[in-house]
């Protein structure tokens, strides 16, 4: 029973576990680059969720062809295209901040940066 649920809805389990992983990376890691990697994983897991809800079993791309064809819902894909652009720009902002922080403080370790701030 449980195994059946896991096997039929495995994409949702993957999305939840990726999200938890990304969240841990953002909160638990002290290296700024690792935080950013966690952030990306967190965002991509949500894209997976959107793609999963759009899927129809046996569906194809929504292109007009003759005969009875089942289409997947194209709207979530379009939404996710927007969200991917947002994710890329967030990552760009994050990485450029990390570069600036490295130049200023000479380290990417959050604890050392905070120590450096306290000593000022």
């Amino acid at each position: 029973m449980v195994l059946e649920i896991i096997l039929t809805k495995y994409n949702y389990f993957i999305y939840i576990s990726l999200m938890a992983l990304g969240f841990y990376g953002m909160i638990g890691k002290s290296n700024l680059i690792k935080k950013l990697i966690g952030m990306s994983v967190f965002q991509y897991s949500i894209f997976l969720f959107y793609i999963s809800i759009a899927d129809v079993e046996g569906g194809t791309a929504p292109i007009l062809v003759k005969g009875e064809v089942v289409y997947v819902n194209p709207l979530p894909h379009v939404l996710i295209l927007t969200a991917i652009v947002v994710a890329v720009s967030t990552l760009a902002v994050g990485l450029s901040l990390a570069v600036r922080i490295y130049r200023e403080f000479g380290t990417l370790d959050e604890n050392k940066i905070l120590m450096g701030l306290k000593n000022d």
Binding site: G94, E104, L117
Partner: protein
């Protein structure tokens, strides 16, 4: 011919409000290529046009009622819809007033604090104000997410322009902001999964039939947490004090006055329009939790503010406390408290932006950031300090300022709900607010520093500060009129009139 053009512009005012901003942002670098100094005038011009459109829209809503604009002529729910009603018309005006006055104030302040970065700074400045106006005006929930990210990305970069510590503050802000935006995105996904629509009006029509589904509960919870991080409601406020303290002063004034207010607007829109009050009463009573958290935030912010010696940091903690008032007004969810909460959106915007402007003006002329060094400033900068006095009195809630009326209405709401603990919290926190502002007054007016010559901030910084101080004074006299206007909206969502 001119009449035709004007009638066309008026017809498309809701989208032009956004288009002007987006075009303005992307032409700023071109203007900067001609002459760097022109960028600030360009930003002020764009903000002024946005202010005119906002005032026109608000006036039109009061006159004829709700405005619905279909993008590209596509009928909602298929197309994106922009909706202006009394609530967001009002928030539009508040946001664009702050954006315009800060853009004038910023010209000198940016030159002193962060010289040589005008081009990127003003591009981002127009983007953030457009993002915020977009969040407020849109009637489509995914469109709201997109504008939220436009505004947020600009905000991270603007905070990072400040001093050395601002980089770390901005990084933390970005991590928290991304978590919040992702929660919003996920919440929208769950609501879309259940209803198949993204239009707010359509969602509010379809959701009541699905109230008992767990997916709806998850979606709504994610959206509430997401917006609460953006609003900095108490336990989720951790990004706020550092970001406000270390960013350039004009940016602190902008963010404190507008961005958190836009977040709370989104929360109000979600709770009262999209989902509907019935859901929270019958299925998950989040209001009890939210109101306790909000009152904890009110006390926490005030206590932390008393402990600070950095003026900007004190104002940042005071923001957390004042946001708690608005959140309390929303979560008590009766006619008085909601009217008070909406009025406090305006009140806190003009007061807090004005106070941050004063802090920036002090840094501009003397370089002083600490409260303990402010001794005798009233003789050095008499007009700036008068603006500080009015803003602070309004923050404490002394009549006839706008702060008095908003807190009074929230207090009436707490009495009506029979929540005596919150009544005590509101009154006690007013006392704490008086305590931390008194600390500053004492230094400014009764301290001695031996300097007698007047050394005021330049006129372009002084004028917006004084205008905002006067607005917080006039707001008090206008309060009954404004609440008359909100009454229309509050009656619609609660079924009870304020009066």
């Amino acid at each position: 011919m001119i009449e035709l053009i004007i009638s066309r512009i008026v017809e498309h005012a809701p989208i032009l409000l956004i288009v002007v901003g987006l075009v303005g942002a992307f032409t700023t670098p071109l203007i900067g290529m001609i002459k760097k100094g022109l960028c600030s005038y360009w930003a002020s011009l764009v903000s002024l046009i946005q202010l005119i459109f906002s005032i026109y829209l608000f006036y039109q809503v009061i006159r004829v009622g709700k405005i619905s604009y279909w993008l590209g002529g596509w009928q909602p729910p298929w197309g994106i819809e922009y909706v202006v009603d009394v609530l967001n018309g009002f928030v539009l005006v508040v946001v664009s007033i702050i954006c315009f006055s800060v853009s004038i104030y910023g010209k000198k302040s940016f030159l002193k604090e962060v010289p040589g970065k005008e081009i990127s700074l003003y591009t981002l400045y127009i983007l953030i104000s457009t993002g915020m106006l977009g969040i407020v005006i849109t009637g489509d929930i995914f469109n709201l997410y997109v504008f939220l990210e436009i505004g947020s990305l600009a905000a991270y970069a603007l905070v990072a322009i400040g001093d050395r510590e601002a980089l770390v503050a901005s990084f933390n802000y970005m991590i928290m902001g991304t978590i919040s935006a992702c929660f919003v995105l996920l919440g929208i996904g769950y609501l879309y999964l259940m209803t198949g629509t993204l239009n707010m009006a359509d969602l509010s029509r379809l959701l009541p039939a699905l109230y008992d589904k767990p997916s709806v509960l998850i979606g709504i919870s994610l959206l509430i947490v997401g917006f609460s991080i953006k609003t900095a409601v108490f336990p989720l406020h951790t990004w706020l004090p550092d970001a406000y303290t270390h960013s350039p002063s004009a940016i602190s004034a902008l963010l404190s006055g507008t961005f958190t207010k836009v977040g709370i607007y989104a929360l109000i829109r979600l709770i009262f329009t999209i989902v509907g009050l019935d859901y929270f009463i019958e299925h998950s009573n989040i209001f009890v939790f939210l109101s306790w958290v909000a009152s904890a935030g009110i006390i926490f912010g005030s206590v932390m503010a008393i402990a600070q010696d950095d003026l900007k940091r004190m104002l940042a903690y005071s923001s957390i406390s004042q946001i708690g008032y608005i959140a309390l007004g929303v979560s008590l969810a009766n006619n008085f408290s909601l009217a008070g909460g909406i009025l406090h959106i305006f009140g806190h915007s003009v007061m807090k932006s004005g106070l941050f402007m004063v802090a920036g003006a002090v840094i501009y002329t003397t370089g002083i950031r600490r409260i303990s060094q402010l001794s005798g400033m009233s003789r050095v900068m008499p007009y700036t300090m008068a603006a500080f006095l009015i803003g602070a009195l309004s923050m404490i809630g002394i009549p006839p300022t706008v702060g008095f009326f908003s807190k009074y209405f929230i207090l009436l709401g707490a009495i009506e709900a029979g929540e005596w603990v919150f009544v005590a919290v509101i009154l006690f926190s007013s006392l704490l607010t008086a305590a931390y502002f008194w600390k500053v007054f004492e230094k400014i007016y009764f301290g001695r520093n031996g300097i007698t010559e007047v050394n005021e901030a330049p006129l372009s910084m002084l004028l917006p500060t004084i205008v905002l101080a006067i607005l917080s004074l006039i707001g008090g006299f206008l309060a009954p009129k404004l609440i008359d206007i909100f009454n229309l909206w509050i009656e619609g969502v609660l079924g009870v009139s304020v009066w």
